[in-house]
């Protein structure tokens, strides 16, 4: 066991864990931020997507030792009041069904729009292909990303 200092959603956490523990389980079970989900454990489904220094990563496949002193953002840190354009667009399009994958979907979408505020459908395919939704909300995810993009680039919907 070792101690690690994690910077998550602009808060500092001291955790004790085996260095090889996937960051996912530390975030969920030690820090207590359960919005980030376990889906596959092998970086195939994207349910555990968080931002590491602003880029989307699969927290199931990063050991906690590699995340120390890096800037991490989880779904809980995307906005304080559900006001991130992606969250608003997700509500507007009523995207989630079971909702389990949606934290990961939203984190991937937010990272995409951060780097590419005007994504084409093809850009969306590339950025979102790592996130599986078993309920099949892809059609609405695409629509919501375009909506969020419009808000972010025009300042209003």
């Amino acid at each position: 066991m070792a101690n690690f200092k994690l910077d998550i959603n602009n808060q500092s956490y001291e955790v004790e864990a085996e260095p090889q523990t996937p960051l996912l389980w530390v975030i969920r079970d030690e820090v207590g931020l359960t919005g980030t989900k376990y889906g596959c454990g092998i970086a195939q489904c994207g349910a555990c997507t968080i931002h590491l220094n602003g880029s989307p990563v699969r927290s199931c496949s990063i050991p906690v030792s590699a995340a120390s002193n890096q800037k991490l953002t989880t779904i809980e840190g995307l906005s304080e009041d559900n006001s991130h354009p992606v969250q608003k667009a997700w509500i507007d399009a009523q995207v989630p069904q079971c909702g389990y994958c949606q934290s990961g979907q939203i984190m991937s979408a937010a990272a995409l729009l951060d780097k590419n505020p005007k994504p084409t459908d093809s850009d969306i395919d590339t950025a979102m292909a790592g996130n599986i939704c078993r309920c099949g909300t892809y059609h609405r995810i695409r629509k919501a990303i375009h909506t969020a993009s419009n808000e972010m680039t025009n300042g209003s919907k």
Partner: protein, 722 residues
């Protein structure tokens, strides 16, 4: 819009509660206009006067309506409260939807078979209407005017003679003492203001900010984590394992055998319990279990299908036997004689199977049940020596949101396993199945073989059709069929085409492989074979496949209307380009009719699904947006089954284990253009969770045939190789 305030006292109550409750959160969030999302509250801190188990009205005017059946994405969390609110005459933005726990006072809380709205529509309307009537009667007493001079609207009772009104909150004390009428008057459809309108789902907010509480998120104090090493052939018994090696991993506290019931089978696994999930997994790796697989290692998908195909050559139980098919086939000028086959599938809910149970030292229990059938109190009570009438008092069952279900969560094996561990250790235990456990251990969707035959006269007019379906059955895994066709196996063969000679048979194949309800169940497999073969018949008869169906469904006027609407909305008769193809299919299942038209386009080396148009007749619709969402989801789930996943067995072991080899359709492969149209009528509500699935695979392969001339009769197939 006013905030949904949680006062200090409630907050303290909330703060003292365990993690899953806290996860619900408690702020209010508003988006533009009337769309105000109320925060969710848990049943335990609802305040006010209950007028019945489902409706509680507080002095501050808060109207709480219980959501009592599990929400797995189908929107029932909103739909049932919406039905109550309609008849109660309150607006949805006056309502706080409250997630209930499991209790017999709410009636049946299990979900499956696209059943919830179908079975609860009338009872919940009556409940809402009866509640409204006692409030009107209370107002009648207050004012001393006849009930007929009063009406209810937006949470108030109004007088017709003056402009006076009184709010429900000021009537509730009186109303609670009034006997509830058994047969209240119900509204007519034209007066509906909530049913049939697109209301915002109250669970959505929590699903965009990470606060929605799933079973896997339960975090009671002192929690330990469990994982279970399982037999690769599912049913083999452990011969030996290295308990000490597992215990030597730092953080591992216990190792024990647990039993999992899969119908009649009791599967043994070795549970490793630890202070962290990671330590449990590391301990599990060291178990080195030797299994006795001898009896179960003979199972192979190849022989499984070979034996089913052999069985298809014989005659079986008749589901339908009209005219004389054999004679029509013998006398035919030409025939079709083909076999369709579909593999086993995994449900693969995004939230893997899990459970959290705390059997306490004082023999009371707290359960977080990610289950489609969560009323487990009596089952657990009996194992703890608790009398039935104390089961609910001693065993608290939380209903978390479910990260998908698709039928899988109607089997409570994870809860059963977790209960055993906690009962032994008397500590809170969270059991999480790995994705590999979830994919390989079943139970699975059935695999099927369909022997399809058609007879034609010398003008290529069809004179007879036969569909012989061979598969395992679900219900015969726990009760004998007694020579009858099990009720579940013929779902989705519901298009009663007008053929003079028409035979449908079912032959049961027996295997040790466990199968289970999987979204649309036999509708998914029957719908594919039946509607793809009907297309073959139509094409051989040189008729347009959509018109052929319309012409031969005289006994099904609702199906004809759906097809006619589809023809219009899909612009079906428009001539396609050389690189385009179209396909149609229609299936009635779980009380609703769905027809899909699939359009394909070849673009360079790629074939894309350029458009899917759907028409749905599910009778009266509660929330059109959600009916459409379910249909969109069914299209994707069905396309995955058609083009992606198959679970195959070699030497008794599933050959796929995770999403790298059991692929799920991804956004880049999903149709970008999906249009869903709903029929308007006054029929009773049908199901919506499943009926959109069965017609998608046949519509797809029919489009492939239109594009390429090639018939796909075995799923899954690769669309890029057609």
């Amino acid at each position: 819009m006013e905030a949904n305030n949680i006062n200090r006292r409630k907050f303290m109550k909330l703060a003292g509660m365990s993690g899953a409750m806290l996860a619900i959160g408690f702020e209010t969030f508003a988006i533009e206009g009337p769309k105000v999302l109320k925060k969710l509250m848990a049943e335990d801190f609802v305040e006010g006067t209950p007028l019945n188990p489902f409706v509680v009205i507080a002095e501050d005017g808060t109207i709480s309506i219980m959501a009592t059946v599990p929400e797995l994405g189908q929107g029932i969390f909103q739909a049932i409260p919406a039905i109550i609110a309609e008849e109660l005459e309150v607006d949805m933005d006056q309502v706080t939807v409250v997630k209930s726990s499991a209790s017999r006072k709410y009636g049946r809380q299990s979900i499956g078979g696209s059943r919830s709205v179908r079975t609860m529509y009338q009872p919940m309307r009556k409940l809402g209407a009866a509640t409204k009537e006692v409030l009107i009667e209370a107002a009648s007493k207050k004012w001393g005017v006849a009930k007929s001079a009063l009406y209810a609207k937006s949470g108030k009772v109004h007088r017709t003679d003056t402009k006076d009104f009184v709010e429900y909150k000021d009537l509730v004390a009186t109303a609670a003492a009034i006997e509830v009428p058994k047969n209240p008057n119900l509204k007519t459809k034209k007066d509906f203001s909530i049913i049939g309108k697109e209301t915002v789902r109250t669970d959505i907010l929590s699903k965009v900010n990470g606060t929605a509480d799933y079973g896997i998120d339960a975090r009671p104090d002192g929690l330990l984590y469990a994982t279970i090493e399982r037999c690769p052939t599912l049913q083999g018994k452990p011969i030996s394992y290295d308990k000490e090696a597992a215990l030597s991993v730092q953080g591992v506290t216990d190792v024990m055998e647990v039993t999992r019931s899969v119908y009649k089978n009791k599967n043994t696994g070795i549970a490793v319990i630890a202070e962290t999930h990671y330590a449990a997994l590391e301990g599990r790796k060291k178990l080195n279990v030797k299994w006795d697989n001898a009896e179960f290692s003979k199972l192979n998908s190849e022989s499984y299908f070979r034996e089913m195909k052999e069985l298809a050559k014989k005659d079986h139980l008749n589901h339908k036997d009209q005219g004389n098919f054999n004679q029509s086939f013998a006398n035919a000028a030409s025939t079709l004689d083909v076999v369709y086959e579909q593999p086993h599938q995994s449900h693969s809910c995004m939230e893997p199977m899990n459970a959290t149970v705390h059997v306490k030292e004082d023999n009371t229990v707290e359960v977080w049940a990610p289950s489609q059938s969560p009323q487990v109190q009596r089952q657990f009570a009996r194992q703890l020596g608790i009398p039935d009438d104390q089961a609910e008092e001693k065993i608290k069952v939380h209903l978390p949101f479910l990260g998908g279900g698709f039928g899988r969560r109607s089997m409570n094996d994870p809860l059963e396993e977790c209960f055993q561990i906690s009962k032994e250790l008397r500590k809170p235990i969270k059991l999480i199945w790995t994705r590999e456990d979830d994919t390989t251990q079943g139970p699975f969707r059935q695999a099927t073989v369909h022997a399809m035959k058609a007879a034609f006269d010398d003008q290529d007019n069809p004179t007879g059709v036969q569909h012989k379906m061979i598969s395992e059955a679900i219900t015969t895994q726990f009760r004998p069929s007694n020579g009858k066709i099990p009720f579940e196996v013929m779902e989705g063969i519901s298009t009663h085409y007008d053929f003079d000679n028409y035979s449908i048979q079912y032959g049961e194949y027996n295997s040790q492989l466990p199968i289970h309800w999987w979204r649309s169940v036999f509708g998914s497999t029957n719908g594919f074979a039946h509607e793809a073969f009907i297309d073959e018949v139509a094409v051989k008869a040189k008729q347009d496949p959509l018109q052929f169906r319309i012409d031969r469904l005289n006994s099904e006027p609702r199906q004809v209307k759906v097809l006619e609407r589809l023809k219009k909305e899909a612009n079906w008769d428009k001539k396609l380009g050389a690189n385009e193809g179209k396909g149609v299919a229609i299936v009635e299942s779980f009380g609703s009719i769905v027809a899909h038209a699939v359009f394909l386009k070849r673009e360079g080396n790629q074939v894309i699904i350029s458009r899917v148009v759907s028409v749905v007749d599910c009778g009266i619709v509660i929330n059109p947006n959600q009916a459409k969402a379910q249909t969109e989801g069914n299209i994707i789930y069905g396309l995955t089954a058609a083009m992606k996943g198959a679970i195959t067995f070699k030497d008794g072991v599933a050959e796929q284990s995770n999403f790298h080899d059991y692929a799920i359709l991804r956004i880049n492969e999903a149709p970008r253009d999906i249009q869903v149209y709903l029929m308007e009528n006054d029929e009773n509500p049908g199901g919506m969770g499943e009926p959109g699935l069965p017609p998608i695979a046949p519509a797809l392969v029919n489009a492939v045939a239109d594009l390429t001339g090639k018939r796909i009769r075995k799923l899954p197939f690769d669309l890029q190789k057609v």
